[in-house]
């Protein structure tokens, strides 16, 4: 800590540092509201604010590529899928009295413990690392790509295989469920017409869609 403080100092913050802190507070606030609100869809929308705030933080650290991918995958795809799932099942307007859990204290303990562990590890690992915001962008697409495919190829490929396994797993699970249904009742082949089909077709596609976003990520 002393080494970092000696070279940069904490008492004369720059504009970027102040903005980073403010956006961080907004992100944190949105995240807290996400898990405490009683309105299910509002929780998903506050999640958008939290994820968008994270993207702004990446931008402030010049990691432009990561920021846009964050918006593309999490705001544009994952939250839309969450909203889709909510609308398909249950999305009442107003409060849901049962949107509460008896495990809230256990959940809080786990959350605080994992947050503390993460903060401790990250601070300990990077306490002397400073990102030079004035120089050439340290997180531009070219730099990110070069480091990803030069230094981190093996973890990257391992993750790809993991996602592929999840993809195949999703297909197998959805086919198994279909086979089980076909075994229970004789398959009634009805030709879907007009608006009535649109209610059923998206649910069939949603499983492949979920794995699709996993594949992109």
């Amino acid at each position: 800590m002393t080494l970092a403080a000696a070279s940069h100092g904490f008492l004369s913050p720059t504009g970027v540092e102040i903005a980073f802190l403010l956006v961080g507070l907004v992100t944190f606030g949105a995240a807290v509201v996400t898990v405490t609100t009683r309105q299910l869809v509002h929780a998903a929308l506050w999640l958008v604010v939290a994820l968008g705030g994270l993207a702004v933080e990446y931008l402030l650290l010049t990691a432009e590529f990561i920021a846009w991918v964050q918006v593309l995958i999490y705001v544009g795809a994952v939250v839309v899928l969450i909203l889709f799932g909510l609308m398909l099942t249950r999305a009442p307007i107003g409060r849901s009295p049962d949107a509460d859990s008896g495990n809230r204290w256990a959940a809080l303990t786990v959350a605080v413990a994992s947050a503390a562990a993460l903060v401790w590890v990250v601070v300990d690992a990077f306490r002397t690392t400073w990102i030079d915001l004035d120089g050439p962008a340290a997180g531009s697409t070219a730099v990110t790509g070069a480091s990803l495919f030069q230094n981190w190829v093996l973890p990257f490929e391992a993750l790809s295989v993991l996602l592929l396994a999840a993809l195949v797993g999703a297909i197998v699970l959805s086919r198994k469920a279909k086979a089980a249904r076909a075994g229970e009742a004789p398959p009634a082949k009805t030709s879907p017409t007009g608006a009535s089909s649109s209610g059923t077709s998206p649910s069939g596609a949603s499983s492949s869609g979920t794995s699709q976003t996993g594949g992109v990520r």
Binding site: V71, L72, G76, V80, S198
Partner: protein
């Protein structure tokens, strides 16, 4: 001071384009559709061939009462049009119309990702509107919007990635700088897939199931009136401008043309985008509406395999010429 003036001027120009071009596309749609259907279209407002029809429509929308249904989720209902419209304004900032630094609102390093990511946020507006209206038709529209996303998002990303591979950069300006004329036949499959997927994103016919006025009464926008409804309409036409501009920049070479690249580059961009916008209108008059499951089938059995084949082709050619 000079920098501030420069930024202000750029923002102002982009804003004027954002307000004017959708109106031009809308008026063109009135007229083109009318002539394709053997009628005249608007003829009286403004005198000459009804040029002021959309301005009059705007005045009419502004005069209407702004109604929020009693059971609706007020704040989200009112916020939704802004969420649907603003992303297109931001995307317009990053689309280059001519060569050099002067002809783009803001150079974005990861331009392709920026435009696709921000365009994707617009879907949230339709979802918010569909849910918060407390109307089953609206909810159905919102559901169809989300289901549609599963169909178009992947082919769009894959074909854009193909262009980025060809150019070796994800910057829109960089892609145009690297463009050669023979990219046109090389990337043509990707271009068609991107354009079709974009139509599905904009919910334009033949992929307008989420608004389908004859089935679910304009879907997510059923309960909207007045200015807020006008904002959703503006978002649709701004979306056409953005999609045509993006297809032009990514696949058709933007400001490159047979001649006049120095001073008249922007004319080429506008010309190509205008032709594409005409095609968008043409398709609306020509094709019947698909069902949502037909779009899923089209996407997963045709568009996704085609875009993967395009990426493979791009990779092979790239390796061969390198």
């Amino acid at each position: 001071m000079n920098d501030a003036l420069d930024v202000t001027l750029r923002l102002l120009i982009v804003f004027v384009v954002f307000l004017a071009f959708p109106l031009i596309v809308g008026q063109t749609e009135h007229k083109v559709m009318a002539h394709m259907q053997g009628r005249l279209g608007p003829m009286y407002a403004g005198g000459f061939h009804g040029w002021a029809q959309l301005v009059a429509d705007g005045v009419k929308f502004a005069q209407k009462e702004d109604v929020v249904p009693a059971d609706a989720d007020r704040r989200i209902f009112q916020l939704a049009p802004a969420v649907a419209l603003l992303p297109y304004l931001l995307v317009l900032l990053a689309i280059p119309v001519g060569p050099g630094e002067g002809a783009v609102g803001q150079v974005v390093d990861a331009g392709v990702f920026f435009v696709l990511a921000v365009m994707g946020v617009g879907v949230l507006g339709s979802l918010m509107a569909g849910w918060s209206s407390a109307n089953k038709f609206s909810l159905l529209g919102g559901l169809r919007t989300a289901a549609q996303l599963l169909a178009y998002e992947l082919p769009m990303l894959l074909t854009a990635a193909s262009v980025a591979m060809a150019a070796g950069t994800v910057s829109l300006v960089g892609i145009l700088d690297a463009f050669e004329w023979w990219w046109l036949p090389w990337q043509i499959v990707g271009a068609v897939v991107f354009f079709v997927a974009g139509l599905a994103e904009l919910q334009r016919p033949p992929f307008d199931m989420p608004v389908a006025d004859s089935e679910i009464i304009f879907g997510a926008y059923t309960e909207y009136t007045g200015l807020r409804f006008a904002l959703f309409l503006l978002a649709e036409y701004a979306g056409i401008v953005v999609l045509c501009g993006l297809t032009t920049v990514l696949f058709l070479g933007g400001w490159h043309g047979p001649w006049g690249a120095d001073g008249l580059g922007w004319v080429w961009t506008l010309l190509k985008a205008a032709v594409l916008a005409f095609v968008v209108i043409w398709l609306r008059v020509t094709y019947p509406r698909l069902r949502e499951d037909q779009l899923q089938k089209l996407s997963w059995t045709l568009l996704v395999p085609l875009s993967l084949a395009q990426i493979a082709l791009t990779g092979v050619v790239k390796v061969v010429i390198a």
